[in-house]
Symmetry: C2
Subunit: 255 residues, 2 copies
Amino acid sequence: MPYDPSAFPPFAVTVDLVVLTVRRDALCALVVRRGEQPYQGRWALPGGFVRADEDLTAAAARELAEETGLCVHDRHSPAPGSSPTGAHLEQLATYGDPKRDPRMRVVSVAHLALAPDLPAPRAGGDANQARWAPVGLLLGKEADAHGEDQSGQLAFDHTQILADGVERARSKIEYSSLATAFCPPEFTVGELRRVYEAVWGVALDPRNFHRKVTGTPGFLVPTGGTTTRQGGRPAQLFRAGGATLLNPPMLRPEV
Amino acid sequence: MPYDPSAFPPFAVTVDLVVLTVRRDALCALVVRRGEQPYQGRWALPGGFVRADEDLTAAAARELAEETGLCVHDRHSPAPGSSPTGAHLEQLATYGDPKRDPRMRVVSVAHLALAPDLPAPRAGGDANQARWAPVGLLLGKEADAHGEDQSGQLAFDHTQILADGVERARSKIEYSSLATAFCPPEFTVGELRRVYEAVWGVALDPRNFHRKVTGTPGFLVPTGGTTTRQGGRPAQLFRAGGATLLNPPMLRPEV
DNA sequence: GCAAAAGTGTTTTTGCTACACCCATGC
DNA sequence: GCATGGGTGTAGCAAAAACACTTTTGC
């Protein structure tokens, strides 16, 4: 049977981004205000159409750069002249409910990006508003208690996508060195611990945490420098080591 | 800016299936012989186009039923009148390299299915050949040593998709009860252990394994029956319990 | 009896928790 | 001095590894 272009229906393919960071000890996600219908005025995840000759990962990296100025940073071979701050980027999942976009059939390949704390989100090419919002508010775990300005749910199925992305990040920092993607290039053990505490929403024992991360070979590499930016006794500075898998994993306390 | 259909390029969207089972103590994947160009005559993963009004998961379930006769089995609310053997189905990842299909731009949403040992694959609607092949051969870990009839690599990027699916299965049985999806409705602890050994390719201590799985609350439920189908002393029969998460996880030995 | 697989008991070792305690800075 | 966060030592406990041993079938 020869190739027949009428044998399959055409789809629009987009990428949506769950961009997470830790700001003021809270896990935050990047959201943009929609300027057009549908869901005009509602907050949504950043994203856009995949171009005709563009790989999915490339489309996600392009959208990430457009929205945040971040360049994707391959943690194994950091490009020497790359942007000041790198980010982790990975595919999350694909959402293709026939009714998820009222205009047409859109399949969205969601990606998860983890970034260090950034100065402030810059407006996208469309001059959309953009901001960091605590995921606790966006996911409505405690929204009722505050009477917030969140304009309710995110657009489309983005609340579900965000929840899936947050869950991925929460579980993946257990057994990988991914939490270092939330930190600046050099960081202290205490700063890394506060990342875990913000992402998991729990308190960890500083002493045991220190022993665990410094005792795992290849996880952290001391740079030799120290800092007192957190106050108290000077703390050693570290870079992320080559090890990407944590074995045994970091244990997330029961909630 | 109003909606402009010319603003985005059209894509074809397909689902591809990594269907795994354990046969004769080996992890096997379902492959079909391609009857048309490109890659005519090569083995490939089963799959097909997503229909215009079909959810991605529904498309994967339809393809799975067409190729194997398996119905997807929701392990939490098994349909009373459903097919004799159920299967686990979940989304794996999405593959969208612009050059992955020479004919046109195709984005494939790969799914992972786990099934108990089946009699024999039946031919698909297109009367294609279908067979179970050990993943060790398909992934070429030891292909050279045998001079096999595998006709080399799988079509398209299916070798990569298969590798990703196998890796997902290997890691997910560590911390979930997914391994029971490879077993018949009633099974012994020894049969479950042989599933782990086949998927991981390692030998496990039968005594410690027994203690571990029977000691995890909610994982296994004794049915009261026994069997000697494996020889030796009669073994208790179990069904999969309600627990889907294993905590603490099953530990995969170092290789 | 013998082989084979199921199942239990016991010791060793590993790694996490909890908490006492000391260190080095800013103020 | 005192507060703050950084870092080490150690006892107790939970669970995994390793392995001896008994049980119940088929032949």
